[in-house]
């Protein structure tokens, strides 16, 4: 791997947000802090290109790739290729939607 490719991967990793899924909520972990979102408070989920927009009773949230899924000692990439394996980012959104009991809609704009 060339120097620029290594730098690209490092940049991607540094910018990736961490998500941790729990039974009744999920957490969005950024260097600036942790946001906890209950599945029950999500009212709609909409795809805008590669990002998912969550509307909640109070406010909203936009999440998109690249990302890490975190659980216990596991920190694994999602939405970007590493070691020849790619887990699509859509899988994360689909699972959150299922736990929230919602269908995902597409932004028509």
């Amino acid at each position: 791997m060339g120097k620029s490719a290594v730098a690209d991967v490092a940049h991607l990793a540094a910018n990736a947000t961490e998500y941790s899924l729990h039974d009744d909520h999920f957490e969005v972990v950024k260097p600036t802090g942790v946001r906890t979102i209950s599945y029950a408070e999500i009212t709609t989920i909409t795809w805008h290109k590669s990002d998912a927009h969550f509307d909640m009773e109070r406010g909203g949230l936009k999440i998109g790739p690249p990302a890490f899924i975190v659980s216990g000692t596991i920190r694994a990439p999602i939405g970007w290729l590493r070691n020849g394996v790619e887990v699509p980012f859509e899988l994360l959104i689909t699972e959150i939607a299922a736990r929230a009991g919602l269908e995902i809609s597409e932004d028509k704009q």
Partner: protein, 234 residues
């Protein structure tokens, strides 16, 4: 991941002692190379991990065993079982406690039993049993506190649920290494903080899942790791 029913048939029974034992016996006898699964409406002597029994009730449980002929002599057969656990979790949106207990909230709703069957030629074939409560109400008292059912969470019947699980299996990456399924596992993982009893009889608390799919746990303040192969196959 390859579906065990792609090119293989499913044997359905109204009643069977154990779907797992049925599949193991077929393979030991050198028979059943066209069989990819056995499904029973009720098991009279269902098996759980570590010799435990699995209680099921007619019409309220999915009890099926899958024969993964395509993964014959797989160098890491425990990953086939863990992959199947992921497929079930993806189908019903439950959580997985290492290596293969299925939970909704704090309640166990099912489990995965991974066995290795040896053919008369000496080949090993992973057989993965799935036991899932989809509405068991009359559990024996000793299980009532530990087990739950999926009825309040998701409503399914056994055969539709199996179709859903098979579709999830096909959507998974090939389970050659733990890193292939690690990201997906992390979405459903419920290992951290869970209490385990080790084969030594010691009580442990789960810290997480290690780089090869092993359990990382704490025993009286000391960190230990338990291989998935050791936990599943003894």
């Amino acid at each position: 991941m390859k579906s065990p029913l792609d090119g293989f048939e499913i044997k359905k029974f109204d009643e069977l002692e154990s779907t797992q034992q049925y599949c193991l016996d077929l393979i030991h006898r050198g028979e059943g190379e066209s069989v990819g699964a056995s499904l029973a409406a009720i098991q009279t002597n269902g098996q759980g991990r570590l010799g435990k029994t699995w209680y099921s009730e007619k019409g309220h449980s999915l009890t099926v065993s899958l024969i993964f002929w395509e993964y014959k002599n797989h160098p890491k057969p425990w990953l086939v079982g863990m992959g199947t656990a992921l497929a079930v979790a993806g189908a019903v949106h439950c959580r997985i406690s290492w290596p293969n207990d299925l939970q909704v909230g704090k309640k166990k709703v099912g489990g995965i039993l991974t066995s290795l069957a040896r053919t008369p030629d000496g080949d090993t074939v992973p057989v993965v049993g799935i036991g899932l409560n989809i509405g068991v109400e009359n559990f024996p008292a000793e299980l009532a506190e530990r087990a739950s059912n999926l009825e309040s969470h998701q409503v399914h019947n056994a055969e539709n649920l199996l179709e859903l699980i098979l579709a999830q299996i096909e959507a998974l990456p090939e389970p050659n290494n733990w890193s292939d399924i690690k990201s997906i596992w992390a979405m459903f993982d419920e290992t951290s903080g869970k209490k385990f009893t080790l084969a030594t009889g010691e009580d442990a608390v789960g810290i997480g899942v290690g780089p090869e799919g092993e359990l990382i746990c704490a025993v009286e303040g000391e960190t230990r790791s338990v291989l998935a192969a050791e936990a599943l196959f003894g």
